[in-house]
Structure formats: structure tokens, C-alpha cells
Amino acid sequence: MKEIVVISGKGGTGKTSIVASFAALAKNAVLADCDVDAADLHLILKPDIKQTHDFSGGKKATIITEKCIGCGKCEQICNFDAPKFDGPANSTAERTYTIEPFSCEGCGVCVQFCPVDAIEFKDAINGQWFVSETRFGTMVHAKLGIAEENSGKLVSLIRKQAKDIATKQNKEMIIVDGSPGIGCPVIASISGADLVLIVTEPTISGKHDLDRVVELTQHFKIPAAVCINKYDINTKITKQIEKRADEISLKIAGKIAYDTSVTKAQIAAKSIVEYSQNGVKEQVTSVWEKTLNILK
């Protein structure tokens, strides 16, 4: 079983459109959307949700107003400025503390040191994850709750579920849609993958972000290849990216031209290879075939 993870560094380079086409071309893969805080793959794959599960990646502190004596110990020891002296009065204090949920990182230090045990520490529900059927096979995806954390843990969980399903269904491949950036959800998406396909675009920003994401794959020693999307927007920078890839032995999985049918396919909720009939369909297919070759 092989796992391909599609990431980009810079956002909006076309990851999800390419993953949807790969799903259509692979025919025998399990799909996973690991862009958990702005998931879009479901808009093309129209999953029929079969299972829904809550996800808890950690705990959150809450102050029990009736017990709080307003001593300020929590505020003094919290490294995240989460306790606020804005709670209502109770029988012992004129004002009490509350925990600002956006700031709480669930470390539990206040819980440990509160002199009157006024702080509860409960599992936080950070989101939900789903197992669904799509026209291209089983898909595992998730929705991180609004303003929630622990996206890295959710990503790891989705990849594990996808792997278990692939084993059970005897599938040869897992295709993963990753998130932009180089931080915790991206590291969680790529660790241990068989191949990372980086989708970039020929802009100075794209090139800059590509360098950083390549460095990330090298740091974690994960094989990587690059695909240049909308390559004809700036052929000069496309050449620079090709040259750079050559210098650092980064394999090139192909180029895709800018084509308005890519947006039209998205509006029609179709993958590029289902919707388009012209060159862009062939280019995406060629990127898929090259990616498979690199994987071998």
C-alpha cells in the first residue's frame, strides 16, 4: 500500500482540484482530506456520510463560578493569558475569574494550582470526522470546530483511519489532500508518507513558499516531487522553478496550463478529468502517471 500526500506551502495553488482528479484516475484508492480547517474536497466528491465521530484532541479548563474565590492564582500562573477577571459575583467574592476559551491551550496548570479546586478540566470536543462513500471510493474527512486547536492530532487520526480502511478493503493506494503552510497540520500530514507531491505556481510567492516546503520534506526525510500548476501565467518563473528543482534533485511530476475550465469544473462539482475535454485533462492525467512512476 502506498500513500501520496498532496501539499503546497502556498494556499490556492490547486491542491484540491488535482487531488479530486487523482481520485478519479486512481479508481482503487482510499481518499483522505487532511485540510481539516478549510476542507473543500467534499465539494467535488459529494461524499455520502456513513459514519460520524466526535474528535477530542485535548482538554479545556473552565472555572466553576460558585467555587471561585477571585484570588488570581490562575491569572498569575497561566502562560497564555487565558484567565480573565470578568466573572460575576458569588457568595465569597465580588468578582470571579473566567477562562477565555480562545486563549486556553488546555495545559491544566491552573487546574493543578487553584487553591480551592474551582477549575474543571474536561475533554474538549474539537471537531468531527467522517467515513463516507464517494463515486471514487471511500473517503475519510473531518470538520475541525470553529476556532479549535489540535488540527495536527485530527490529521494523524484521519490518516490512520484511511490506512485501516485501505488495509480492510485491500486497496493499493491512499491519496491525501493536505493543508497549506509548513506548521503542525502539514507535518502531521506528511510524516511517514511514501511520496509528497507539492503543487506550486509560477509566482515569486509560489517559488518562495516551495523552497520552504521542500526544506520541510527534507528535514523529515520524505520523498517529494513537484507539479507546476498554471505554468503559463509566468513562463520565466516556471523555468526558474524547473532549474531549481533540478539543482536540488526534486523530481518534476509535470506542468498544467492555466485553464478556465478548472473553475468551471469546480462549479459543476466535477473533477478536471471528468469535466474538461481539452489539453488540461491530458496534462493532469500525465501528472498522475508521472507521480505513479516516481512512486515506483
Binding site: 494556499g11 502562560n79 488546555g106 476556532a147
Partner: protein, 287 residues
Amino acid sequence: MEKNAVIAIASGKGGTGKTTVAANLAWVIAEQEEAVQYLDCDVEEPNGHIFLKPKINQSEKVKVAVPDVDLEKCIGCGKCGQICQYGAIVSIKEKNVLTFEQLCHSCGGCMRVCPSNAIKSKMLDIGTLDCGKAGNVDFVSGKLQIGSVRTPALIKKVKEQIKENYIAIIDAPPGTSCPVVETLKEADFVLLVTEPTPFGLNDLKLAVDLTREMRLPFAVAINRCGMGDNKVEEYCQNEEIKIVMKLADDRRIAEAYSDGEMIIDVLPEYKKSFIGLYENISRKLKE
């Protein structure tokens, strides 16, 4: 515009034009002879410097505190491992403690619970902070070190550079999770940049939910108008969300962007769009 206003430019979806809007807006504000700062909080992939081309006059490493265990003093009680919620410190057997610095959130819990005072803090690099000037725009940017996951901690450092009596334009990271929350905290106004496509709309809805959850005033800018459908505008109408700017789907903008050029320099006809945006935000701030 009100001095000290903090305006965050965000979006759920990546690549919708946050940096283009933030950089050009900051430039236009400077041209109105107002004191303005541009702060790049997209610390995983900062790109503002490509367009604003600042002269950096101060660059410093950003560090966070992580535990440093003195095994001589350790009595092997295991309290450090019990309080740590992140698996960053583990007491494995008698007097042997392992630390995993990259998992640490710097809460300080282990140091506080240790009864034998065996844990001190040492500093771990998480990235760099650059400050400088781009024309009359005060420029600040954070750059996360490769392999670090301490995105919110670095964003906090970038935001500490917000100056008094300046209008602060903050370029936010994409998404809706902790790095974005850290960036938007205490903003006076959030501008959500989107594009008229199904992905743009889906991620805009998530970003709207986030700003509402955080009780922040916000409005929408639509980039690449004409590339897709009308659903973003319909959604904004139904939700009574103000659209404060529309930028056309103009291949020349994409080309200028690709070369790292400022739109208002290369295509001066768009300057009035950014001045209009500035006036619209000023008006919204007074409401």
C-alpha cells in the same frame, strides 16, 4: 482612519489575495500620510516582503522556554510527566526523564510541579522576527523555523510589535484554527478576502463563523470577480454582510502578482479601489 486601529486581512481559503490586499492597502494608507504598519502574521509562508520590498534594519531570533532537566536533582516522582498534556516530558523510570522539545507548549507546568527544583527552562529557537521600513510603511514579519510547530507563539511575538498611534494592517494566515485565532484576537476589524468559487464560498462561510464566534466586526472583499459564479455575493446579501471591495479577474493583476509587483504601481487604475477600501473600512470602524 482612527489611530491605533488594528485591521486583520484574513480568509478561510489560501491564495485568495490576502497579501495583495494587505500590502496595497498599507501602501495607500501611507500615501494618505497616516502612520501605518504592515505585520505579516502568515509566519509559515510569509510573502509580504516580496511585494513591499522592505529594508530590514532589525532581525532577531524568537525563542520559547522549554524544560531542561537536571537529572542529579531529579527524585523520579513523575509529577512532570503527569501534568504535561502534550507528551513533551516523560518520566520513564527511576530518575530518567525524557523531553520532546518540539511538542512543548511552554506552559511551565513541569517546572512548577517539580518538588526538587530539578527543571529549569532553556530557550528554543522557533523562528525570526524582522522589522524595517518599506517606503513609509513600517514593516514587521515573522518567519517560522522549518520543523517548528509553534506558529501561534511566533504570531504573538509579531503582534507585540504593534505600535501606538499607528494603523496596523495584519496579514493573517489561511484557515480557521489556532494560528488564525491568535492573529485575529483583539483586532478592531477583520476583512475577509475571498473569490467567487465554490471553494471560496465554503471557506468564507467558515471564516465568517470564526469572526462571529470571536465577536469581531468584519466585511468581505471579493477578488477575481467574474472568474466563477454569483453565490458569494448572494450569500453575503442573505447574511447581510457588507462587501467593501471587488477586484476584477484581470490577468494583468495575476501577472503583476507573479512578478512580485504591487498592483497600484503597475496598474494605477486600481489605486481608487484600494482608496475606496480604506474609506469603507474607516466608515465601518466608526459604526
